[in-house]
Symmetry: C2
Subunit: 346 residues, 2 copies
């Protein structure tokens, strides 16, 4: 039986394979634009000098793609697809950081913070194109199946960002601020890319549509669980857990699932106070953040959100068990589901 630490180490080792590929893929001559990409991916420092240690993220999506592809014996064939997913994911982060005015990511200043938003917009655009060029390295049979699928899913991620803007602009008591709208946004903005990664593993292994469907279901449910879990971490987690400023989502009044749940459960003056905090036109102060969290705690918003995480996790486990992979692989995925969804102390 795999231990949690083993699973993360394993995922990390697959991620390192993607990093090795991305590191050389982003070596594109002297333009600092490519240096900014390497900086953001964690392969270079602020002076664009290469660093041996990688300061990048978990490589969750691309690592997962390779881990699953390896269960089918298709590791090498999956590398271009994993590279594409990882470059695309990081492109979205470069642009998200501009939009969210996030100054730090993974403990380092963001691209716009260092080089300005003009460069950050443009460097992101270049990385998006490289995410698609990466697919050109795949075997044609895999490439031609992955490309239209990835293009569609990549655009859904952009739609998810659009929906996030909309939801952020609506007040908490706006009739358009619903749990369904939130879940549509969350699914598109983050979960479909996990689904693309898991289904991508099947494409690399030349699996049939039925298996791709099961892989997609696994990834989508895991992605939903992961994101709802991440939203709870963004409210209740410490800075150590996120690598970002703690309570960032509360400060920016993001109407994530725990917030919607809290608003539905709160009554009387508490409800009005909560709506007032989330109706603010500017970032919340430290005191306001603490008050908003206290109100959420008063109606166990964490517990309710966590129940949703667990439900999606159950779907993911079910889908994993139905895959045409060895039993040890299924155990591995089950262990991943548990490990990737940490509980927080409220």
């Amino acid at each position: 039986m795999q231990q949690p630490g083993d699973v993360l180490a394993l995922l990390g080792s697959y991620g390192s394979r993607v990093d090795a590929e991305a590191r050389t893929f982003l070596e594109r001559g002297p333009y600092a634009m490519y240096g900014m990409m390497r900086y953001f991916m964690g392969y270079a420092d602020e002076n664009l000098v290469s660093v041996a240690e990688c300061f990048g993220g978990k490589r969750f999506r691309s690592g997962l793609l390779l881990l699953i592809a390896d269960q089918y014996g298709a590791l090498e064939d999956a590398v271009p697809l994993a590279l594409s997913i990882e470059l695309f994911h990081n492109f979205t982060l470069i642009h998200d950081d501009i939009v969210d005015r996030d100054e730090m990511r993974r403990g380092r200043p963001t691209v716009w913070k260092l080089w300005g938003s003009d460069h950050a917009i443009n460097t992101g655009d270049g990385q998006l194109l490289l995410a698609l060029e990466a697919l050109e390295r795949a075997h044609p049979a895999r490439r031609d199946r992955a490309r239209p699928f990835f293009l569609e899913k990549y655009r859904e991620v952009i739609e998810g960002q659009y929906l996030d803007f909309e939801l952020t602009a609506y007040s908490l008591n706006d009739p358009r601020t619903t749990e369904a709208a939130y879940l549509e946004m969350l699914t598109k903005k983050t979960s479909v890319l996990v689904g693309a990664a898991t289904a991508g593993a099947g494409i690399a292994a030349l699996m049939r549509d039925e298996e791709l469907e099961r892989l997609w279901n696994f990834g989508l449910a895991l992605g939903r669980a992961y994101q709802i879990c991440d939203d709870t971490v963004s409210i209740w987690g410490s800075g150590d857990m996120t690598g970002k400023v703690p309570h960032g989502d509360v400060r920016e009044r993001k109407k994530t699932l725990p917030v919607l749940i809290a608003y539905e459960r709160l009554t009387g003056t508490s409800r009005d106070e909560f709506a007032h905090l989330y109706g603010s036109k500017k970032s919340l102060s430290a005191d306001e953040i603490q008050r908003a969290i206290a109100l959420m705690n008063s109606v166990d918003a964490y517990g309710a959100a966590r129940a949703r995480v667990d439900r999606e996790a159950g779907y993911a486990r079910q889908a994993a068990d139905s895959l045409a992979i060895p039993e040890v692989g299924k155990e591995l995925l089950g262990s991943l589901v548990t490990t990737l969804l940490p509980r927080v102390t409220v």
Copy 2:
């Protein structure tokens, strides 16, 4: 013999074919994100309601692609490629407008001006993906040849934008501010997309590499001539010619070819004054704009820049004459070269 008006009308009619395609291609459900794309392309008003008349641009690149493809009898096969080029070009404009803080384009407010830069960044990202999805509509033999070529050229456009940022940041007397650096920037930022359009016509017609090379040479030279001409128009042209605020490039102290020429030719206090104006940290005032133009006029910077336009136009004509198309087609392209490069009154 074609008259100038005929040639532009013909280019416009090919452009309309692209518009008809793009209009339906961008109908993607209720998200306002797609409405913003249709607005920017000129198919919808500020309320995202469809308008019959198109407020879009000249569709120069995509119209040219179809016009040339038609000379080979490959019009219909070229439509997805033309659609891709036009969507890509307009994606770059959506992002450029944010970066340049341009509030007006084609006589209408820009996307960031109406919906904010967050939406403009994201909507542009979505349109970039659609530019690549458009290629999926091409016949596989054409698609598979066009895709890696377009991906490379599209990324060179992003590199050109990067080089533009760099050049803008350097002072006029910085050793890195050279005519060679300017031409590299200009070639990548705008000319390669014209070359991609003309070569794309050959790809749609399944031409051999030799013909693609000639088409590329034609487009690249025409693109260079067109852009240097446009840079003269941005300095000396009226608002009617550009659809933008007159003298925009002077106001933003863009170091275009006429500026580099003027700085090289000016001497003594005039040279210092010119460097001082272009060394300003903020936009130039109306008086400063007039003074900068007067200094450029004192050394005939327009005449020298125009000579470069004419030289590139000569290369373009030479390449056009070498193409494997009917004589009438060659005459048409020659007439286009003349018509697309208007002289301005200095």
